[in-house]
Assembly symmetry: none
Homo-oligomer: 212 residues x 4
């Protein structure tokens, strides 16, 4: 939380970023409609008017904030896409591991929840998110699963037709955490372990997996 004036007048990009960072926090905590730009400004250490030097209005700030926050995810996806073909086992393990450590264990999960929450009211966000994240992710996972299916590694070849299934427990975890986390925490690690086994278990060898 930078204090007023710490940001050099010279670096507009830093200011912009400070506003975006502050916006994440405020929008996540309050939702779009209830978020106050005053709060964003204060948190960013800038004056109210400054926000409007960088963003057209509240909605623009919101959308750009989502884009900026999602950018690293996109980069990751692109990086992964360039990797040589990896076995489904490895990809899944890595995905769940990364998600658990770098999303669920961090405030980042709140952003995902925010997208889920506000997306329906912001078509632009839905489209952007689909284009940049979802369709790329599906493509990637689709490829991995198809190869796995061909090698007979999947418990059910139908999985390859629904790469979304890979992500289902992650969405569940995020939603659960937001709604019920305070009442009954979820053992995400355990859940993902089971799910992972479930996806890859060959018929006929169910349940043989080790558990931590």
């Amino acid at each position: 939380m930078p204090k007023r004036g710490e940001l050099g007048r010279r670096d507009p990009e830093a200011r912009r970023q400070a506003i975006l960072d502050a916006a994440v926090g405020v929008f996540v905590a309050q939702g779009f409609a209830a978020a106050k730009l005053d709060d964003v400004a204060e948190k960013a250490g800038v004056a109210k008017g400054t926000i409007y030097l960088h963003f057209k209005d509240k909605q623009d700030l919101f959308e750009q904030m989502v884009r900026a926050a999602v950018a690293p995810v996109i980069e990751r996806l692109e990086a992964v896409a360039k990797l040589p073909d990896l076995p489904a086992e490895v990809v899944l393990k890595g995905l769940y591991e990364v998600f658990r450590k770098e999303v669920l264990g961090t405030p980042r999960k709140n952003l995902l929840r925010l997208v889920i929450t506000e997306g329906p009211r912001f078509p632009a966000i839905g489209e952007f998110y689909h284009r940049e994240v979802v369709s790329r992710g599906l493509q990637l996972m689709g490829g991995v699963l198809k190869r796995a299916a061909e090698k007979g590694e999947l418990a059910d070849d139908g999985i390859a037709r629904f790469p979304q299934l890979i992500v289902a427990p992650l969405i569940l975890a995020v939603v659960w955490d937001g709604l019920l986390g305070a009442v009954e925490p979820l053992d995400v690690q355990g859940l993902l372990d089971v799910y992972h086994r479930l996806l890859l278990a060959k018929p006929g060898n169910a349940g043989e997996g080790e558990r931590t």
Copy 2:
């Protein structure tokens, strides 16, 4: 959409219900913060002030609306709980079928999404929802799964430890529909079919590797 005056002046309960019904629509469409009580009143065919005769304030209306809307679900759960033990196969099939037809195919899905998205800002809702729906549902599914596991019907006995998994694709479907449904609709039926197969063990490996 009842018109003003159609509600008997004598029946406060009908008025209350009319307000709740109207509230569902408005809150679902706008979210809590952006919802206008003016709209609720108009939709309910009631004067704005009347809302305050039945509900303490906007938040109270919201919470009671969720309770009321969730009530039928609770009843269903209770009814099902009284049924004799049914095989997992049947229960799952029925659950997915009902969900697909009576939730996803209807405005009701929006309510579930509303709970998911606004819940985090309303602890009372999280607690209520957990107490009345989630814990009961888990209990129910837990029992079904445990029995299924004992009979070796599950692809992985770990599933019995995470009844939440049963619901994961449903949550996915609801979230997808809200965020991406307009861009790329999801073949829910196909998805659930695959998932259903995935959860249930293939013939030939029944009873293997029981643990516990």
Copy 3:
């Protein structure tokens, strides 16, 4: 300047009128852009929000205020139009007399100046003013002048083609009063007397008129 609460809740028309009355004062004093609705509300003895129960927004208030303020003028015009044909001499004398006493000598002149001032930025006002006041007035004066011309009462028959000329010294007086009145007051009575004589003087009898 009614005080808050003096207006019965029951009489919305009175409130509306109070707001309009207050608006005249504020808009006249500040101009449209600089006028503060807070001031209007305070002057009208109502809360800010109340204004919006009667008027869509600031511009709507402005336009309706002009309409309301101009209404009596329109009525007058209509009343005069129903009168039997009067000689130009009488009509002119009456017009100048009324204008001097009931417009120039009162705050009403400020409203005329406001219309002149803001009209160009509010086409709706220009059109309304033309339709309701100007064209009717021209019609009226046109008839009077035509008859006068036929009877040879006019100094120049061309006047009948430009009924606007009747009004020229009145506009001059209003404009002068606003811009220069504080520095050098204008003897409107004297000016109008001369102008009156000028219009009606028959060629050949110039200057024979008595002066008060």
Copy 4:
């Protein structure tokens, strides 16, 4: 509309003038209150801050802008004042001709309207305008008219006491154009012709009824 940088950095006077020129356009189009200094700066090809190097604040810019814009008029008046005495006939004809061609037919009329409409809120402008333009103009016209009256050229000698009357149809034309020009254009030429005839005595009654 000079582009940034075209103005010599060396010539502060040119910058000042560029700002004044831009200001005319913006103030005329929007009025004082609604005019934005951002627009002035952009139009002048200057940074917003630069305005404050030349003018104390918005009001100062406005007042100086009026002074600058009115300056040529003053020069004209002075030039005319040095001319030998001309007959009223010629002076009037010339005045109306010049006004019609160089004011009404040009954006300059907007400036006159601006002075008329904003003047009342800026006493300094009223005083300045009176001192520099109005009183000189009146003096000038007063002289012309007095001589004309003595020669019996006026339709009514009273005109000499109200030189303002000369200008009444011009004010009318400017006001009409702003308020009603879009709805019903005014035949200024015709109007002025009639008025001109009206002011000047018909042959045959010259010299009658002189009064001091």
